[in-house]
């Protein structure tokens, strides 16, 4: 015999929906619109091979005779190309879809690498303490004092000169992820360390230690879940920064090659034609880049207000 239960077990989705975060999200139109735009851009770019009318990587579909057609709403457009074509005759709409996918992919992978490095180092520094801590934090200070962009520019410039542009272009994605990922680990390490220092003193950590759990288990299973909110906030801002860094590096010719353009390299190739009036090759990828970074930053702002973790200043 069981009594009839009128309330069903809440699903995970409804738990999130009814939580404080869910509530603050529903009450914030800016956050809703930002998330919607971000998801739209993300889904469209990752479905690029399905949506795009042309394949910008297939030389068979590119005809130099088609170069520099303006977008549809400008006189002299070719109806085949919705947003016009770039200097090589590629359909701009397809190229932007593929380019956004690359930019997002590099941004997210680089931040993933930052997070793995930074969180492990931060956990170890905070939990072990002593000399290890001061050494690691000193390294973080020094790393932070050098601007990421500067480190990335010099590293990529030297690798490009060393391997030659053929080989460099082939592995550009990995170089970009590696350099943006490694240069920014202190952001995570410092924040994680600060929260670990605060959490370490709490009773649940003591009780876990009394139960005989090893340091690894306490760090990963007990302390880390309680340090997640600052990590989330940093991650959004870091993805936005990584996308900007990637675009800047590609703009300088130290990132994605023109044959496989990200948003930055598209803008760069368009810049040469801006004086001859072909503004759309620069402007349209530029707008996509700004909108993408802006919505991520707005989401990050909302998340910071909603979770309100004590972040490191500066």
């Amino acid at each position: 015999m069981s009594s009839l239960s009128t309330t069903s077990e809440p699903t995970r989705w409804s738990l999130i929906w009814n939580s404080n975060i869910g509530y603050s999200f529903r009450k914030n139109p800016v956050a809703i619109v930002s998330l919607a735009i971000f998801l739209l851009i993300a889904v469209m770019s990752f479905c690029a091979p399905l949506i795009a009318p042309f394949d910008p990587y297939d030389p068979g579909q590119i005809d130099i005779m088609n170069s520099e057609y303006p977008p549809l709403w400008v006189d002299g457009a070719d109806p085949q190309f919705m947003l016009g074509t770039d200097d090589q005759g590629r359909d701009l709409w397809s190229t932007i879809l593929y380019g956004t996918r690359l930019s997002l992919l590099i941004g997210i992978c680089a931040v993933g690498l930052q997070a793995i490095l930074g969180i492990s180092i931060g956990l170890i520094a905070g939990y072990v303490g002593g000399r290890v801590d001061s050494l690691l934090m000193r390294m973080a200070d020094i790393q932070l004092s050098f601007s990421t962009l500067m480190v990335a520019i010099i590293f990529l410039a030297v690798t490009q000169a060393m391997f030659g542009s053929e080989t460099f272009n082939q592995y550009a994605v990995y170089f970009l992820i590696a350099v943006i990922g490694v240069a920014e680990w202190p952001q995570y390490a410092r924040t994680v360390r600060a929260t670990v220092l605060a959490e370490k003193k709490k009773e649940y950590v003591d009780s876990a230690r009394v139960l005989g759990f090893g340091p690894m288990r306490i760090m990963v299973r007990h302390i880390l879940p309680n340090s997640l909110s600052p990590i989330f906030v940093i991650s959004t801002v870091q993805v936005a920064n990584a996308i900007i860094s990637e675009a800047s590096l590609s703009f300088l010719g130290l990132g994605m090659p023109p044959s496989q353009p990200s948003l930055g390299s598209l803008i760069s190739s368009g810049f040469d034609y801006i004086f001859s009036g072909s503004w759309w090759i620069t402007a349209i990828p530029g707008i996509v880049l700004v909108v993408l970074v802006l919505v991520i930053n707005l989401l990050g702002d909302w998340l910071r207000d909603a979770l309100n973790p004590k972040l490191y200043k500066g």
Binding site: I154, A161, M162, F251, G314
Partner: protein, 326 residues
């Protein structure tokens, strides 16, 4: 304090040592100095002889010591392209970059303090909300896009400002020629400085606003209000003084970042500074120039950071020097 100073200087030297090691490793592996000297048409025996003569067959440590010794005397090798000492080439380009950074810094300081203070005092007015909205857009626009947009609007469409180069310069002394002495020079430096400032401005406005809002909640500001001191005096004399400390620290770090952004700004505006030169050197695989740039920029970073840390230690009496030096 003295122990802290010594530790800080020692750390700076250690970082410079690492940078010089990296620089040397690049010089050792990138390009072939022999080919730059004699070309392809020399027999293998003569090559070996030359290698011995130039010391290219010595051990890594000997070669590094020679490199470091020369570097300490200001000899960073000779540029393959300019056929001049690399350091001289860079020092010739340095004033252009420094003037650009200077122009941007003036814009940042001149705008961020009043705007930051205003938005902190009246956080709910329409103007403040507008400023905060613009600032998040400002953070999201990469500096090269701002620069391109400004060129497109102000040079191509309206033709108000020139789009490249430095214009008429006036010689001051040594390699320093200034933009600030002629109207044409002012016109040329305007767009690049604004573009360079645009990336840092939102950051500083937000920082000053956040710090100021915190200070305005403090007891001493309330006490000053109760005492009847004029609001203007409270805001700009009492409160602002205490917000500037974190601003100095962040500002010091950002000077270094600004050097990186000059590469982007200089590329867009074809500004004949260090950054533009560096990218050209990379394209020409001009190894000595690349290495010299790395060392000069590394030096600028290390010096500014050390000075900022020391100022911070001096200005802030509450800072725990023993902990910072640990």
């Amino acid at each position: 304090m003295f122990a802290y100073l010594v530790k800080r200087v020692f750390q700076a030297i250690a970082v410079m040592f690492v940078i010089s090691l990296i620089g040397f490793a690049i010089q050792d592996n990138l390009g072939d100095p022999l080919r730059e000297l004699v070309g392809q048409s020399v027999s293998e025996e003569v090559r070996q002889e030359l290698r011995d003569e130039l010391g290219l067959n010595d051990s890594f440590v000997t070669q590094y010591l020679r490199f470091a010794g020369n570097a300490l005397q200001g000899d960073l090798g000779t540029s393959y392209f300019f056929k001049e000492p690399a350091l001289d080439v860079i020092l010739k380009k340095l004033p252009a970059t420094m003037e650009l950074v200077f122009g941007a810094t003036i814009i940042i300081i001149g705008l961020s303090i009043p705007v930051g203070v205003y938005t902190a005092i009246y956080p709910n007015t329409i103007l403040s909300r507008l400023v905060m909205g613009i600032s998040i857009i400002g953070i999201s626009v990469p500096v090269f896009l701002t620069a391109i947009l400004m060129i497109f609007v102000f040079s191509v469409e309206y033709g108000w400002f020139p789009s490249y180069g430095r214009g008429d310069l006036v010689h001051v002394f040594g390699p320093w020629e200034t933009n600030f002495a002629t109207v044409d020079g002012w016109m040329h430096i305007m767009l690049p400085s604004i573009a360079l400032a645009s990336i840092m401005l939102p950051l500083f406005v937000r920082l000053i606003r956040a710090e100021m809002m915190e200070v305005l909640q403090s007891e001493y500001v309330k006490y000053a209000k109760a005492k009847g001191i004029r609001p203007w005096r409270i805001y700009f004399v009492h409160a602002l003084k205490n917000t500037l400390l974190p601003v100095i620290t962040v500002g010091g770090v950002q000077i270094g970042t600004m050097v990186a952004y000059t590469i982007l700004t200089e590329t867009v505006f074809q500004w004949p500074g260090m950054g533009f030169m560096f990218l050209e050197a990379v394209n020409r695989v001009d190894t000595p120039l690349i290495v010299a740039y790395l060392i000069v920029v590394g030096f600028i970073f290390v010096v500014t950071n050390t000075i900022v840390d020391l100022i911070y230690g001096l200005v802030n009496p509450t800072v725990n020097l023993a902990r910072m030096g640990a």
